[in-house]
Symmetry: C2
Subunit: 623 residues, 2 copies
């Protein structure tokens, strides 16, 4: 039943060979890898205003432009830094691998934890912001925003479980449409001003007073969310056509220019159109409303902004499961997370991402301003580690021009490290503390998981010289069989017969609650006319496993330590799932207990039962 | 860990031989078996007033006395009826067995379902009423009543899982204390009136108007809850000393007289002291307050009423699990419900009762008036079936005086059937519909369960003549072994060696996702220097079970249909519970799938892993 439902929702399975899709050029590589980065235009500027306006009123717009300038500077440094990463890691230089290789395992684990946290927040923030855009345009939807956001996460989850691929070209179109939309907004706004339009001046509530450094830093920290996603290109180098590094570097350059244009442009426009963003009105939508009224362009901008934000969330659906799978393959995460499902997607990773981001959305009521406090710390930690890793790499390799290259990455690392400190402090109360506590916990767990997997691997490994001694033909176990029976019935007779087949030394074993019960079972057993001895134990606690283990370990059971003992359980298999509820799980319980003991093999011999309806008549006959 | 917690909460296990407790005489039999019946004095009268007062104001008290008279009449008929049941069923004549024997399986199932529903309601109503008593005396506790009631259910659950026994004499004391308390209330009230005290007359809200028949019937239905529990004595005949039927009949007679006294007495007293019960004030407590003020007697009555109500709930903790266990033994309920736990209590039944009654308490906010709508229908259905069963029995047996005996039980059946109709109609909207829908559903489920168990039993049974053909020495299976291996490691080598021990025809089997992977594993395997063939299958869907089953069923695998095929799974057992989370459950999944196929035996050969800390050094060495 569940199997069927699964098929309907998720479609048919795919083969492993379907894995490799088309390679990307610039035309499609750019939009496909950029949605996370460019979509932040929808919230980064607005969140700066939301920090500044209550403090300094109308002066906020000027300060925002100033801070946007700083952030664009940071962007350019990052761009240069990451172009070098692309050159050095043509197979994809995610922060996790770069840090692990150059800075050691612990740095890798920190980067992994930081990135994981940020992918989750990318989903939560992007979806919440997407919903904010449409509820700004359609106010009636406001009360349902948590519901809409949760539904979108579920849709993303189902879509990704079905195996939609980010690399599909159809995902490139909305990025161009969004870029076009924002350009129309900027140009349209400029023309309107040119034509002598004087924007309405809103009533600012009395500002709280002068601006402090902390407030500026808080606004800056909010604005830094504009840079999340720029690392996507360097992770995806192998997805490009040859020469892949060249294409990737070009795409990164163009992407940076586009962010510069959109982020800078909207900052400038906001400086003229003094809209006051709030939970009910997203900045871009308010500006579009003032410039265009409710005409086609207004709805065009609303729609494309919404779509690009959802696509940004979707990039996390590719990035997060892949990151976690890489970590799992390196033994830092449960191996289930590295297994591909029917649709070649990392199903468990997708489910995990959906669950945690949906919880965040519900917990923070899909409020972008609340979520943004947690965001960006993780990204900048991973930036810092990745750039530091590159810096160390140059110093170690001492290749041509290494001083220059090291300087760029070193400067990048220093700058992003500073931003980490700024965000951590400025946004501490707003939520960065959660991430700062979470990362060490995740690192600790990764260590525990790593040690466990190594422990398992070491114990399973056959060391070189052991292959000789492992010679299977030479060594054989001495095996004896015990068949616990509940009563003398068809299933137990089958089990005894099978036991005889595979081994000479068979013992039947049963547990009874009273002497009489023992007599009855012995009488029946004797009718079987067999030479297999039956051991009957009184079990006042009505337990099976304990008396059985006591018997095996006792002198009464004639065996040498080191003998292999097979315990053969006869059971039956029912036809319907609810029938299983009617039978307890004694078999599983016994199996679980016995498997903990050395030198015990547990065999299950099932009897497949017929369907109940053959026996319906019994009900009628007794009624 | 869970095991330890279990021990602390539940104490040490008991032996089966501890099961039989002391036999009861009249002195202790009376109070122990009466708590359910006498405790209803705490709510039956009050609930009648709650129906009547809003309709007819002060006239309600007179009508309540009238209705109480009818109910006492009903009590006397029931008493006579059940004395005959005691004589006929010295081993305990529960409604389930009496109906099943005399009216057939379906009637038994209906009685079982009705009784089960009513036991659950006994817990919910008694606990809620108990909490109502103490929140009436200590108003500050009012907001916590749902929490207190739930906590009491949990305490009752733990107590019963620990194996407290209703038959313990200590449970007899509160019944006498309660009876004494109510007598003090009645006598104290009478004396106060004698001394010329004129009770305060409360301000009645304007009554809604004249009384209708439906309102009278509603009040009567509420009052009938006073009779729940009178069947307890006839169920418990074997618990009495010899001559047990004589003792039981005497106890039933005395019990009826006590109910008559307490229920009649409080009705009369309420007729003078016009208190208005409500959610905040239970009738008995309000009367006690007016008569005694806040002196010792007031707290004595509050306390004993509370205690007797909790004990009444506790009787359901003996009755319900025993009823369900009897039904399970007769194949009408899942057999897990008939298994005694460590403490010789029917743990599953206790858990089920606690869960459902806690849900009812929370759902109905521990409100007695709401819960009472569902109560009593079930009891009266079981009364009717039990009396009808007795009537049929007399007619069938035609023993001495059978006309007279049949007349008594027939009259009882007729009367209780009428009450069933009255309650069903009068309380339909208030909740009896829930029970009327629930009972057929439960009967349907019981039928399904019954047919399933019969189907299983029939298929397991060795018919007389088959014992000869079952001769174990004659027939042996032809057995072959397949050992699926994930890689060439210590666990798989052990498994292959064991396979060789028990069988000549061994095949190793592995699934790979690519040709290269296959080459690597084959190379390693060849180093083992074994003659066991290795079958390698490409599995693009990364599945194990399906290719394995396809292989077994294919011509490639040389075997005759009917051969037994053993699939030997090598697995490893981890030390800590959380380690299990790191390994998925491929083994269990494979086992489950394979066990559905005929002629397949699944064996598990575990490797017990060492603790991780032996391998901690690997983390350090790589950092």
């Amino acid at each position: 039943m569940i199997e069927k439902l699964r098929k309907i929702i998720l479609g048919k399975p795919l083969k492993t060979s379907d894995l490799h899709g088309e390679k990307l050029g610039i035309l499609w590589g750019l939009p496909i890898l950029s949605s996370d980065a460019i979509s932040s235009v929808a919230y980064a500027g607005q969140e700066m205003l939301l920090v500044l306006i209550p403090m300094i009123g109308v002066a906020a717009y000027g300060k925002m432009s100033l801070l946007s300038g700083c952030i664009i500077g940071l962007l350019l440094v990052l761009m240069l830094s990451y172009r070098q990463t692309i050159d050095s890691y043509p197979n994809g230089g995610g922060a996790f691998m770069v840090s692990k290789e150059n800075l050691g395992n612990t740095a890798g684990m920190v980067a992994g934890a930081a990135l994981a946290a940020d992918y989750i927040l990318t989903v939560a923030v992007s979806v919440s912001s997407g919903v904010e855009q449409i509820t700004s345009a359609f106010g009636g939807l406001q009360p349902y925003r948590v519901m809409i956001a949760s539904a979108l996460v579920i849709l993303l989850m189902i879509g990704n479980l079905r195996g939609i691929r980010e690399s599909s070209k159809v995902f490139g179109v909305p990025a161009y449409a969004f870029i076009l939309g924002i350009l129309i907004l900027i140009i349209g706004g400029a023309i309107k001003l040119q034509n002598g339009y004087i924007p309405k001046e809103p009533n600012f509530e009395k500002p709280l007073g002068a601006i402090s450094l902390l407030i500026m830093l808080k606004a800056f920290a909010s604005g830094c969310t504009a840079l999340t996603g720029v690392e996507a290109v360097s992770n995806a180098v192998p997805n490009f056509k040859d020469p892949s590094t060249k294409y990737a570097k070009t795409v990164l350059l163009i992407l940076s220019m586009i962010i510069l244009l959109l982020f800078g442009g909207t900052s400038v426009i906001a400086n003229y159109y003094h809209v006051i963003p709030s939970e009910e009105g997203a900045m871009l939508i308010l500006i579009a409303e003032e410039i265009f009224g409710h005409n086609f362009f207004f709805y065009y901008i609303t729609t494309t902004t919404f779509v690009i934000l959802i696509l940004a969330a979707n990039t996390a659906y590719t990035g997060f499961p892949m990151l976690i799978a890489v970590m799992a393959k390196e033994k830092y995460a449960p191996q289930q997370l590295s297994m591909r499902g029917d649709k070649l997607s990392y199903d468990n990773g997708i489910l995990l991402l959906s669950a945690v981001s949906a919880l965040l959305i519900i917990g923070f009521q899909a409020n972008v301003t609340s979520l943004i406090g947690l965001y960006a710390v993780g990204v900048f930690i991973s930036f810092t580690l990745s750039q530091s890793g590159m810096f160390i790499k140059w110093r170690r390799e001492r290749s041509k021009n290494w001083h220059f290259k090291a300087a760029i990455n070193g400067f990048g690392a220093l700058l992003t490290a500073t931003v980490v400190v700024i965000i951590s402090i400025a946004k501490f109360e707003e939520g960065s503390w959660i991430i700062l506590i979470l990362i060490p916990i995740l690192v600790f767990l990764q260590m525990k998981v790593y040690v466990h997997y190594v422990a398992v691997k070491e114990q399973l490994k056959i060391k070189g010289s052991e292959y000789e001694t492992a010679d299977l033909s030479k060594l054989e176990y001495h095996n004896k069989i015990i068949v616990p029976i509940e009563s003398v019935n068809v299933a137990s007779v089958r089990a005894l017969r099978y036991a005889k087949t595979i081994c000479e030394e068979v013992t039947a074993f049963t547990v009874v609650m009273s002497e009489e019960e023992g007599k009855i079972i012995l009488e029946k057993y004797n009718k079987l006319n067999t030479d297999i001895p039956l051991v009957i134990k009184l079990s006042p606690y009505r337990k099976v496993v304990e008396p059985l283990i006591r018997f095996i370990e006792s002198a009464e059971y004639d065996h040498t330590p080191g003998d292999m003992i097979t315990v053969l359980l006869s059971s039956f298999v029912v036809r319907k799932w609810w029938h299983a509820l009617l039978h307890g799980n004694t078999r599983k319980y016994i199996e679980k207990k016995l498997l903990k003991h050395k030198h015990i093999v547990v065999s299950n011999m099932p009897l497949q039962l017929k369907d109940d309806h053959y026996f319906q008549k019994h009900l009628a006959s007794k009624r």
